[in-house]
C-alpha cells in the first residue's frame, strides 16, 4: 500500500481532481456503453416480435374476408 490513510489515497498527492476525473469518466462511459449494448438484443427481439404479431393479424383479417 502506497498511502498511509484513506484520506491520503483520495487526495492522490494533490492530484485528486485530475486522477478521479480521468477514472470517473472512463468507468462512466464504459458503463454506459455496456448498458446500451446489453439492451440492444432485447430491443431487436421486441421489434421482431411486434412484426410477427402484425403479420399474423394481417393473415387473420385476410381469412375473414373470404
Amino acid at each position: 500500500m502506497q498511502f498511509e490513510s484513506f484520506a491520503e489515497f483520495i487526495d492522490m498527492g494533490g492530484y485528486a481532481f485530475y486522477v478521479w476525473l480521468a477514472y470517473g469518466i472512463t468507468f462512466f462511459s464504459l458503463g454506459t456503453l455496456i448498458v446500451v449494448s446489453a439492451r440492444q438484443k432485447k430491443k431487436v427481439l421486441a421489434e421482431i416480435a411486434k412484426k410477427i404479431q402484425r403479420e399474423e393479424r394481417l393473415k387473420e383479417n385476410r381469412g375473414n374476408k373470404q
Binding site: M1, Q2, F3, F9, M12, G13, G14, Y15, Y18, V19, L21, A22, Y23, I25, T26, S29, L30, L33, I34, S37, A38, Q40, K41, K42, K43, V44, L45, A46, E47, I48, A49, K50, K51, I52, Q53
Partner: protein, 248 residues
Amino acid sequence: MWKWLHSYADPERAYKLAGKLLPWFSAIALGMIGVGSIWGLMFAPVDYQQGDSYRIIFIHVPAASMSMSAYMAMASSAFIGLVWQIKAADWAAAAIAPVGAVLTFIALITGATWGKPMWGTWWVWDARLTSELVLLFLYLGVISLYAAFEDKVLAARAAGILAIVGVINIPIIKYSVEWWNSLHQPATIKITEESSMPMEMLAPLLINILGFGVMIGAITLVRFRAEILARNGMRPWVRELAKAEGVK
C-alpha cells in the same frame, strides 16, 4: 480447417458460439481490470517526477493502445467482409466500431486530464493528439455510414471501405511521437528492448492493457449477437427466439 472455420459464418452458429464465449470474456475482463486498476491506484510506487498524477497511465495507455487494436480488428473484419462476402464479418465490424469510438474518447479525455497537471494544458494540436482525434472521427464516420443505409449489405460495403482507407492513420498515430516533435512522451513499453519502467508499475499496466483487450472482446460479442438477430429477423430460429423472449 477452413471448412470448420466457415461453418461459424452461419448466423445461428455464430450467435450461439458468441453466447458461449461471452461469460468467459466478461469474467476475465472484469477480473483483470479490477486487479490492474486497484494495483495501479493503490500499490504501484509513486513516480519520482509526476507524483501520483501518473496513475492515470493505468487507464490512458490501455484505452489508447486498444483504440488502435480495435480499429485494426474492425478494418480486418471489414476487409474479410468485402473480399470474401462473409456477412458475419461485416456484422462483427459494425459491432466493434462503437466500442472503439468509446475507447478513443476515453484515451483523449484521460490524456487531457493528465496533460493539464503535467503540461499545463488540456489540449495541444500536436501530431499524437491530433491523429488520435482523427481516429475518433474515423470511428464516428464508420458508425454513421453503417447507420445511414437501410440496405445493410450496401451500408457494410460503404462503411467497410472507409474503415480500410482509415488504416493509414494507425501508423501515423503510432510513430507520431518519433516523426515529429511532440509534447507527448514516446512509448515506455518496448517489445524489443527493456522497458523504461520498473516492474511494479509495468505489471499492473500490462494487466490493464490485456484486460481492456478482453473487455473489447466481451462488449463486441454482446453487440455482435444483437447485430446477428437484427440482420436475420426473417429466419425461423430468430422468429422463435423473438416469440419466446421479445413479447412483453
